[in-house]
């Protein structure tokens, strides 16, 4: 009997003892057999648990279930638990957020994938085709693989991958000992080490740089130690220093390009204020967030409160980090405007409040804009206009939400956010990484009403009236560039802001 039939016979309880022993031997010796077994019994267990839901055409037929009389011996509370288990409706929905990722793309260099992937992305099991460039994958088990395009890799789990073609270098720390790399004609079991693997035309060559690898081929398993190899020995194994050197070079270049662009951008006469979050070594108080517009408007400089200096998009770039409920940057922006653009580079670590501040005016008076991230991960822009005779409780703020943009995948890395508004058309357009994610005109819009800022702040909402408790709206993340314009920038200008500033 083949493996499948043995598993199905076991599931159906139709397996004679000698075949059960045969199944057990297969499960003991072959991980692929175990895997197929686990998949098939799991599927069966699910069908046993939720048949009515699954077939989609069944009435709620209560299955006849033989429950044994075991509860008299138990305490009432324990019986309650047992009853809950037996009679409570099944709840398929898990309330806790889950992810089925097993690895992450930690670093890329000029990498092109079939399909869109960016560094920082979580990877699920499945094929990965790198057509060019370098990519570093960190498996959740702790193993790291550096891959050079063109390469075809299949991620099987946090503990297992397959290389179909290309050059790969694998590092396995002690915690990930046992990491398996499959290649044509062999299976490499890593015992805590570093090795390189080249697969070309369906033949594999391996070289161990450090530690020990067990190579399982159709012959008996071979132990490969430092300096040993298998397959035709070539000297062109992938080097790990290559990626890091190239990444450093790229970061330096991107930073220099951005500095150049930023210098030109700062001379745009449409700017109300422009902050590049450069940590000024000669600022003895260490709290100045300089407004770098030309001509200069030093009165529009920001003052950091609480927020600490941290690394920005590149190692050479500084940013301010907002963490504690008090962290903020105070601003005072004079003037009356007919349109605005707010644009910033932000790394959001978590959307953990109902409202998470980007830029808010103190209080909320007529013509004042508020820009925040709403709890569902969408961008929220609003502007207040209350008629003089309106009741205090009535809502007169024009509110605009984008589609949700902050999800588990977009947290913890740098993104470009922008919103434009003009008081003639009333159109609010929101952008995420240079792409439009929302466009709306409020029903409450009336043309020609002025926009004002006055005292306001980044990363928080504050200076409440004395004696009142203030809602906690501090941003959990970092900002490293913020521009405020007195006009609604066009989509292509926003796009250019993003293109010149994106980290990679």
């Amino acid at each position: 009997m083949n493996l499948e039939s043995l598993i199905h016979a076991a599931i159906d309880g139709e397996i004679p003892p000698e075949q059960h022993a045969q199944l057990e031997d297969l499960l003991r010796s072959d991980w692929q057999a175990r895997r197929l077994y686990l998949e098939l019994v799991d599927q069966h267990a699910r069908l046993l648990q939720q048949p009515a839901v699954n077939t989609g055409r069944l009435q709620a037929t209560t299955p006849k279930r033989k429950t044994r009389q075991w509860w008299p011996s138990l305490t009432a509370a324990a019986a309650a638990i047992a009853c809950a288990l037996i009679f409570w409706p099944q709840r398929p929905a898990e309330t806790e957020a889950t992810s089925n990722g097993v690895a992450m793309l930690s670093q890329t260099m000029d990498a092109q994938f079939s399909g869109t992937l960016r560094s920082g992305d979580t990877l699920k099991p499945g094929p990965l085709h790198l057509t060019q460039g370098l990519a570093q994958i960190e498996f959740f088990s702790g193993a790291t693989a550096l891959i050079e395009g063109s390469a075809e890799i299949e991620i099987l789990s946090a503990w297992e991958a397959r290389c179909l073609s290309g050059r790969v270098r694998v590092h396995v720390p002690p915690a990930a000992k046992g990491f398996l790399m499959h290649a044509p004609g062999m299976k490499l079991e890593d015992l805590g080490t570093e090795f390189a693997l080249n697969v070309k035309d369906n033949t594999s060559a391996v070289h161990v740089f450090e530690g020990e690898v067990i190579a399982h081929t159709d012959q008996s398993p071979t132990s490969l130690k430092q300096g040993m190899g298998l397959g035709h020995s070539t000297s062109d194994f992938l080097s790990i220093t290559e990626l890091h050197g190239l990444v450093k070079e790229r970061d330096t270049r991107r930073f220099a390009d951005w500095q150049q662009w930023s210098l030109t951008a700062s001379k745009d006469s449409r700017l109300i204020a422009y902050y590049t979050f450069k940590h000024l070594e000669d600022d003895r108080w260490d709290r100045l967030v300089k407004n770098v517009t030309e001509p200069r408007h030093p009165q529009r400089a920001g003052g950091a409160v609480g927020a600490a200096w941290t690394q920005g998009r590149w190692p050479e770039k500084t940013a301010l980090e907002f963490k504690r409920p008090g962290d903020r940057v105070r601003l005072n922006l004079d003037g009356t405007y007919h349109a605005l653009t707010l644009a910033c580079w932000v790394k959001v670590d978590s959307v953990d409040k109902k409202y998470n501040s980007l830029l808010l005016t103190d209080g909320y008076d007529n013509g004042e804009p508020h820009w925040q991230i709403y709890e569902d991960g969408s961008l929220m822009f609003s502007i207040m206009y209350r008629p003089a005779d309106a009741a205090k409780s009535a809502r007169y703020n024009q509110m605009y939400f984008s589609q949700p943009v902050f999800t588990a995948d977009s947290l913890g890395r740098w993104h470009h956010l922008a919103v434009t508004y003009d008081n003639t058309s009333g159109t609010v357009i929101q952008y995420f990484d240079g792409q439009e994610v929302g466009r709306e005109i409020s029903k409450l819009h009336q043309p020609g009403r002025d926009i004002v800022f006055g005292p306001c702040e980044m990363g928080n909402w504050g200076l409440p009236t004395q004696g009142h408790q203030f809602p906690i709206r501090n941003l959990n993340g970092a900002i490293d560039e913020f521009a405020i314009y007195s006009t609604a920038l066009s989509a292509s200008e926003i796009r250019s802001f993003y293109d010149h500033g994106k980290p990679e």
Partner: protein, 176 residues
């Protein structure tokens, strides 16, 4: 042991939420429904007795799996003469391998529902009798007028088709 109603309520809630994965875990080690349900009940009682030791800051399932594994071992010792139970080393292997691939198993189940919809009417009827109505082999043989051998062959093919359908879906889904 705590008698406070709130801790009992918490446990009931946690168990209700997690009984499906717990059952699946136990079933992977003891693939017999009646036995697996017994072990699940024993496990819930053990969890109840030790619930004071549970640290709510940690995920519930890994903690519960440890108790389930222990109850499976107890069950194995009790029925040590049964040749249809896996030996200890195989159970160890299965449990550890399962913990590594659990996210993929969850992923597969997500796709299973769609694959069930794609079954032929005949296959769906088979699913209904076997899994929803819990008919015995004898009932099903009479109902479908099949020999015992053909009936189990059909069930095997049905589950195999579902498994392949899920694998295919996973591949087309890729890394999306």
């Amino acid at each position: 042991m705590s008698d406070s109603p709130s801790s009992t309520e918490t446990l009931v809630l946690l168990l209700t939420q997690h009984q499906e994965p717990l059952f699946r875990y136990i079933f992977s080690l003891v693939p017999c429904e009646a036995d697996a349900r017994d072990i699940l009940q024993e496990t819930s009682l053990a969890l109840y007795r030790k619930f004071a030791e549970y640290d709510p800051a940690r995920p519930f399932l890994p903690w519960a799996y440890r108790f389930a594994f222990f109850q499976v071992q107890k069950h194995r010792e009790k029925s040590s003469r049964s040749p249809l139970l896996f030996s200890e080393d195989v159970m160890d292997l299965l449990a550890s391998e399962r913990s590594h691939i659990e996210p993929q198993l969850d992923d597969r189940l997500r796709l299973l529902d769609a694959c069930l919809q794609k079954l032929t009417a005949q296959d769906q009827e088979l699913v209904t009798s076997r899994y929803a109505l819990r008919q015995s082999a004898e009932e099903m043989m009479a109902h479908f007028s099949l020999s015992r051998r053909t009936l189990f062959r059909n069930l095997e093919l049905l589950r195999q088709r579902l498994h392949e359908c899920v694998t295919r879906q996973l591949q087309t889904e890729g890394l999306a």
